[in-house]
Amino acid sequence: MDDTSAVFPQQIRWEDKGTSRIPFMAYTDADQHRRELERLFYRGHWCYVGLEAEIPEVGDFKRTVIGERSVIMVRDAEDSISVVENVCAHRGMQFCRERHGNRKAGGFTCPYHQWNYSLGGDLQGVPFRRGVKQDGKVNGGMPADFKPADHGLNKLEVATRGGVVFASFDAEVESLEDFMGPEILGYFDRLFNGRKLTILGYNRQRIPGNWKLMQENIKDPYHPGLLHTWFVTFGLWRADNKSELKMDRHHRHAAMISTRGASGKADQVTQVSSFKESMKLNDDRFLDIVPEPWWRGPTAVMMTLFPSVIFQQQVNSVSTRHIQPSGPGAFDFVWTHFGFEDDDDAMTLRRLRQANLFGPAGFVSADDGEVIELSQKGFEQKPFHRTLAELGGREVGDTDHMVTETLIRGMYEYWRKVMEA
């Protein structure tokens, strides 16, 4: 073995059967990235596509992505949502370029040759199917056996629950409820409890790092108090908050549940030195936190639904965060901030204000996107090496504290099972 192959191994290599030491190559290798797309995003999993509230009227659509495949979520009837692949049956063009719109009149038309599809993706007709009349004769046209019914758009499986829309390319995929499992479903239903949602706005950011790092980041309760010092300073995060970490039976999904200490600050033990009780906000409306009945206790629940989405409740700020990979070294991260139909104006304003705490221009001090970028750089310079995720031990299991990286180990346990099969 020469020096080159020692730095750039041909194959990903795990040190042992465990998942506490994750090879850097899991984040950098292009072949493996394609295998992830196929096995995690395109087969056997439900992926997030959006919220029903984004497409309230018949004909409303939203263009989005599953893995790296462009899809369109569309309300094709009063009580029905379709998800179709954004690839024309004719010449393969990604025909839909707008992010949002309404196509009630006329359906979807590819601009290249005006092939026209119904909202549900059926091919309606193609120009000059019967040819073009000229001087009493007809020229060209499609073959007599051309059947529009054979050339619709690729139609995905669709599942909705609580106003959230999921889709899958896999016709054999299990039910959405089985996919989540009872534990995670409980936290999902807590947030999406049947009230109609309202859309407050979007954030979009391109993060130059592997998509899994965002899943891991929201499975990592070790970092918030250390990276996001603002949260600590203003009492939103403490390592000794009452908390729980829970997973589905496959250990692919997780919930980080925490309850902000309600007791007086004086009797709390300060675990992290940057907790500065004397610091005050000039405008404290960012922390005008009003407990809501549906919380039923926890002030923050961060759910990771593998592989495509994060559902966030941080006090009054609620959002979905959609992970859209773009090669092994980058992903788009799209936040949808929402509220509920029974929110009053003050609550809507409160949710919007608190949304400023998060995201690339948020108050959390360094954003997760920045550290993910720097992790990716480290992986790329040293692809023979591995990360270390051994806080709280080397095994995997639910906990009643935050001082552990068990959820990351759990995710890779599942990842290895699927990827090495």
Binding site: Q114, N116, F128
Partner: protein
């Protein structure tokens, strides 16, 4: 009928038998059809895609749009086949002295 304003559109012979022809009448894009010796008139532009019906195919009383194969009944403009859902306008026709007259109002 006497209240109609009649506009001279074409000679009867200009409308091909069991087929369709496009005409400009008073600045409007009109399609004229002849089925079983009867002449019918509708707007020429499809209500779905942007296409002229006179470039389409007439089968009995149905005109099929060349773009996406939607169909209309030429007698009343009603849609008869997806993807068209909205009728095209049809016009009253009068034949007088070998000329086709339309009421465009």
């Amino acid at each position: 009928m006497s209240d109609f304003q009649w506009t001279d559109a074409a000679a009867v012979d200009e409308v091909p038998t069991d087929d369709v022809v496009g005409m400009q009448v008073d600045g409007r894009d009109i399609a004229l059809y002849k089925v079983d010796g009867q002449i019918y008139a509708t707007d020429n532009v499809c209500t779905h895609g942007h296409a002229r019906l006179c470039e389409g195919f007439l089968e009995g009383h149905e005109i099929e749009c060349p773009l996406h194969q939607g169909k209309f009944d030429v007698r009343n403009g009603k849609p008869t086949c997806a993807p068209v859902t909205e009728a095209i306008r049809s016009y009253p026709v009068k034949i007088d002295a070998g000329r086709v007259f339309l009421s465009l109002d």
